[in-house]
């Protein structure tokens, strides 16, 4: 009976993952696409659990489902005048389909045809402890490089995304004007920083 449960889990999680990914391809609305991405990531996390990788599954939920999807929603909402639509590019769609079809045929052929020599040993126990120990002992140099990479990416993202000083000043003054009840400032324009007329209206 536990075999039946495993089958049920695998096939439903596989359907969830591939279905979510296909809905990203089909969906016309970018925000819906991110929601489908969350579903697909949750399916992958469940598949990690069926592979007895519990620590990785928790990390997947925390980072992908929690952080990256929220980051993407923020980026979508911070680009209000860009098109929301998630449509395909008609010019590159055809060649892309051909390339992807070739990749799919070759990878599927390799996956099915190769004798992988799979062994079914007992799964690792205490994975979090084992991974932590080997990160600190064995993989200490990659671990430190990863820390530096994350710091650099964080600083770089902030440096890229932060506004210039003049823009920030304009934005702040128009916000101030709005707070003081200045009716001449259009509240729609206040939301978008790089509009020079706002500065005159605010100051």
């Amino acid at each position: 009976m536990s075999d039946f449960g495993f089958h049920l889990a695998f096939w439903s999680l596989a359907a969830m993952t591939l279905g979510g990914a296909s809905m990203i391809m089909i969906s016309r609305n970018l925000i819906h696409a991110v929601i489908w991405l969350v579903m697909s990531m949750l399916g992958v996390a469940g598949l990690y659990l069926t592979l007895s990788a519990d620590f990785i599954a928790v990390v997947q939920v925390l980072i992908y489902v929690g952080a990256i999807s929220v980051l993407m929603l923020f980026a979508i909402m911070l680009t209000p005048r860009a098109e929301r639509d998630n449509s395909q590019n008609m010019k590159t769609g055809g060649p892309a389909a051909i390339v992807v079809l070739l990749v799919m045929i070759s990878t599927l052929w390799v996956a099915i045809d190769t004798d992988w020599g799979a062994v079914r040993e007992a799964a690792l126990t205490e994975q979090a402890r084992l991974i932590g120990e080997s990160l600190i002992k064995h993989y200490i140099l990659p671990f430190e490089i990863g820390a530096v990479l994350l710091t650099a990416a964080l600083v770089g993202a902030i440096a890229l995304a932060r506004q210039d000083d003049e823009d920030a000043a304009v934005h702040a003054s128009s916000l101030q004007a709005e707070l003081e009840g200045d009716a001449s400032v259009d509240p729609v324009d206040v939301v978008d920083p790089p509009i020079p007329s706002d500065g005159e209206a605010g100051s």
């Binding site: 993952t17 990914a21 980051l71 998630n86 395909q88 992807v100 799979a118 890229l160």
Partner: protein, 104 residues
């Protein structure tokens, strides 16, 4: 039928191909990033499958590798979305068709 390594490999290959197609064909830069995330997830799924169906020392190092991939993916998406914001601020669009400043 026993669910074995091949099932997970086929699933990972299909997920990778869907992500690849999304990354190649979407118009919106954030859509392209979503496709890249799907591809990275497919690779992680394949690695974890190999970790489960391999010997014990392979299992541990594969999981550590997946942790590194997740960290690099987080850094990549943070910088990518910041770049999308900068492109939007300068050009009022993040459509990859219309950011053609380098086109000769």
């Amino acid at each position: 039928m026993i669910i074995g390594l091949e099932h997970y490999l086929v699933l990972g290959a299909l997920l990778f191909c869907i992500g690849f197609f999304i990354a190649l064909s979407k118009k919106n830069a954030i859509g392209v990033l979503i496709g890249v995330e799907l591809m990275l997830n497919a690779v992680n799924l394949t690695l974890i499958a190999f970790s489960r169906f391999g010997s014990a020392e392979v299992a541990l190092s594969t999981q550590v590798f997946v942790v590194f991939i997740i960290a690099v993916a987080a850094a990549e998406v943070a910088v990518g979305l910041a770049l999308a914001l900068v492109v939007y601020r300068n050009r009022q669009t993040i459509s990859v068709d219309r950011t053609t400043l380098l086109k000769g």
